[in-house]
């Protein structure tokens, strides 16, 4: 048909217009306003504000770590779903199916590699994100709850990574998970020492719930698989939604002087204080667009905001692309490890947990109960309580709050590093209680070990800072810096300096040959 019937053409055009209208609801997004409306009325885009504070666009504000974490989660979800098509979660088939993914599934190898590296990167990014949020005191009121949500996301990320670790069913997986599961069972260490395991055995219960059996086997594999592909991703997705939503509801990114009250976004902290609860605003308005030469009257000064579309979206696209290409390049350059088929008769030596647990494994090597449960439990609890103890909102959005904060952080950095090195060096060089008094009571070995002492020293230092500075913020900075330094140093020791039989080696070249 050379000639198009004009009526039909008009019809087609009008259908096209209607289609675009129906998608964007407010016409083509070509103006600030229609773009704002598009952002506002689109399920995915409306996680963004319609307008973004210019500070958000500065790379130093967030370092993009939250977006990187989320990008990695997206990459992991997509590659994970694709891998699910070929992975067979049974003891007999799992290893072979991973081999097949590596060798004969088209692009399967790169998919698995990307999944693996993205998982490691996500753990790292989530940690760094937490460090960033903490040091800019962005947990302060009104963002305490979102800090808790973030903490839950960190734990879920670790759980996802840990459950995924078992699935290839190779020696690396098998022995790493055996160790992890025995850490879950380590309260038995305490109950055994007290002689009450027969009646009260929380460790055994935890381990059995985790593994569905006494040892890592088919039951554990299917449990880990279910957790890894359904339960944890669903919970994580839901919490990510809450996390994003709260960022907006809590007034966007923390910035100095920009902290809104609980009354809601847009209500200026300097605004008229409500004299009675009845006068609290019940409805709030967000600003959708700026119209030239007219300035709508609201409490929020729009002068330093710009439309999220395109500025914020562009930044996000850039971060996503960069994250993706980093994963792909890593996957191309380094294959994900796959050792021999899991063999319960031949332990790996050294059998190491995933890297993010190696700091714990270092402490576990003194006492499984303290290292595997007490230290992480106290750490998570402490991190959760920080915003409720430190109620100060000054310094929000400023790294280290102030020059004083910077100073105390640096002092703590040095001190915590020395303490951590001492905690490793003493038992390595001169031994510990068991080496001196082989008959020492198990209770004493559990209670008094480099791990628990290091934790106490860190807590003590933080209390000292509180006394010296009379500032809870300084104490929080000190405690958190201790946690960061301890985590980094112990993880490094576990990763690089521990060899067969968990002996200390300066270099892997010194490991005895099997």
């Amino acid at each position: 048909m050379a000639e198009v019937n004009p009526t039909i053409r008009t019809r087609l055009e009008s259908v096209g217009r209607d289609l675009i209208d129906s998608i964007f609801r407010h016409g083509k997004p070509v103006t600030d306003r229609s773009r704002s409306q598009a952002v506002f009325t689109n399920l995915f885009l409306h996680l963004h504000p319609t307008r973004t504070h210019v500070r958000t666009l500065r790379p130093t504000t967030t370092l993009g770590l939250g977006t990187i974490s989320f990008s990695l989660f997206v990459v992991l979800t997509v590659t994970g779903v694709l891998l699910m098509l070929y992975f067979k979660p049974s003891v007999e088939l799992a290893y072979d199916s991973v081999k097949d993914i590596h060798y004969v599934v088209p692009l399967g190898r790169i998919m698995r590699n990307v999944h693996r590296w993205a998982a490691h990167l996500m753990v790292a990014a989530v940690f760094l994100h937490m460090f960033r949020v903490f040091y800019s005191a962005a947990y302060a009121k009104p963002r305490e709850f979102n800090w808790l949500v973030g903490l839950a996301l960190l734990v879920l990320t670790l759980a996802l990574s840990f459950t995924g670790y078992l699935l290839p069913w190779d020696q690396l997986a098998y022995w790493a998970i055996t160790i992890g599961a025995n850490i879950a069972g380590s309260p038995s260490e305490l109950t055994d020492a007290l002689g009450i395991t027969k009646w009260f055995d929380p460790g055994g219960l935890q381990k059995e719930i985790l593994l569905g059996s006494q040892s890592v086997g088919g039951e554990a594999l299917i449990r880990f698989y279910t957790l890894h592909v359904i339960v944890l991703p669903l919970v994580l997705s839901a919490l990510i939604g809450v996390h994003f939503w709260r960022i907006r509801k809590d007034g966007g990114l923390a910035r100095p002087g920009g902290t809104p009250t609980h009354a809601g976004k847009g209500a200026s902290p300097e605004g008229t204080p409500a004299s009675s609860p009845g006068e609290e605003p019940t409805k709030t308005y967000g600003l959708m667009c700026i119209v030239r030469d007219r300035r709508p009257a609201t409490n929020l000064d729009p002068a330093d905001t710009v439309p999220s579309w395109p500025y914020l979206l562009r930044a996000e696209v850039l971060i996503f692309l960069a994250t993706f290409v980093a994963c792909l390049a890593l996957g191309l350059a380094f294959d994900a490890p796959l050792k021999e088929l899991a063999n319960p008769g031949i332990p790996e030596n050294p059998a190491k947990a995933p890297w993010y647990f190696l700091g714990l494994q270092e402490i576990v090597s003194y006492s499984a109960f303290v290292g595997g449960l007490i230290v992480p439990a106290v750490t998570v609890l402490g991190l959760a309580l920080v915003p409720y103890i430190d109620r100060d909102t000054t310094g929000t959005g400023t790294y280290f709050t102030s020059h004083r904060g910077r100073k105390w952080t640096l002092i703590t950095l040095a001190l915590a590093a020395v303490l951590a090195v001492v905690a490793v060096a003493v038992p390595v060089n001169i031994g510990w209680i068991r080496d001196w008094y082989p008959d020492a009571s198990q209770l004493i070995v559990i209670a008094v070990n480099p791990g628990s002492l290091l934790m106490l020293a860190y807590a003590g230092w933080s209390l000292l800072v509180l006394r010296l500075t009379r500032s809870k913020r300084m104490a929080a900075l000190a405690l958190f810096t201790c946690f960061v330094v301890g985590f980094v140093i112990l993880t490094y020791v576990g990763m690089e300096l521990r060899g067969p039989n968990w002996d200390f080696f300066w270099s892997k070249a010194d490991w005895p040959v099997h």
Binding site: V30, T31, L85, P106, L107, V291, P310, V317
Partner: protein
């Protein structure tokens, strides 16, 4: 709506934005293609379609024997041996042997003993499979290789 409240359209996209958008789109298309490529496997995780059915002596002339684990019927006639697939050519159900021939339980296709369609939706006769003798003297069938109906392998 009063004219002065209507914001002006933004300037057309500059080259950089367009290039960025194009590259991002290409990357998206590439990633999607990669994901789709992964769905079509290189190899199927199945055993070889060739299988040994036994020595010719195990199939005396004038008998018919169904091998259920392979879903084939082995017919031995004076002209030789033929192996006919029992997979219905309509939608892949396994046909049942009757006095007159084979009936498909799924959609009522009916075949003669030679596999020709006499009733129902089956578009073509049952498949006759290639048979030959292996060096160890056993009959081998290739489930993936078809011969025209009525071809017997002379032993």
């Amino acid at each position: 709506m009063p004219k002065r409240l209507e914001p002006e359209p933004l300037p057309r996209r500059d080259f950089l934005s367009l290039a960025g958008l194009t590259l991002t789109g290409l990357a998206g298309i590439g990633a999607t293609m990669g994901g789709i490529r992964l769905l079509k496997p290189y190899v199927l995780p199945e055993r070889s379609n060739r299988f040994t059915i036994g020595l010719p002596g195990e199939f005396p002339v004038g008998t018919e024997r169904i091998l259920p684990e392979r879903n084939v019927v082995v017919r031995s006639t004076p002209a030789g041996v033929a192996v006919v697939s029992l997979v219905c050519t309509h939608l892949g159900c396994i046909v049942a042997s009757t006095d007159e021939g084979f009936d498909c339980p799924c959609h009522g296709s009916r075949f003669t003993g030679e596999g020709d369609v006499v009733k129902g939706p089956a578009p073509r006769p049952l498949r006759w499979l290639e048979v030959w003798l292996a060096p160890d003297g056993k009959l081998v069938v290739d489930g993936g290789s078809e011969v025209s109906p009525g071809t017997f392998f002379g032993v």
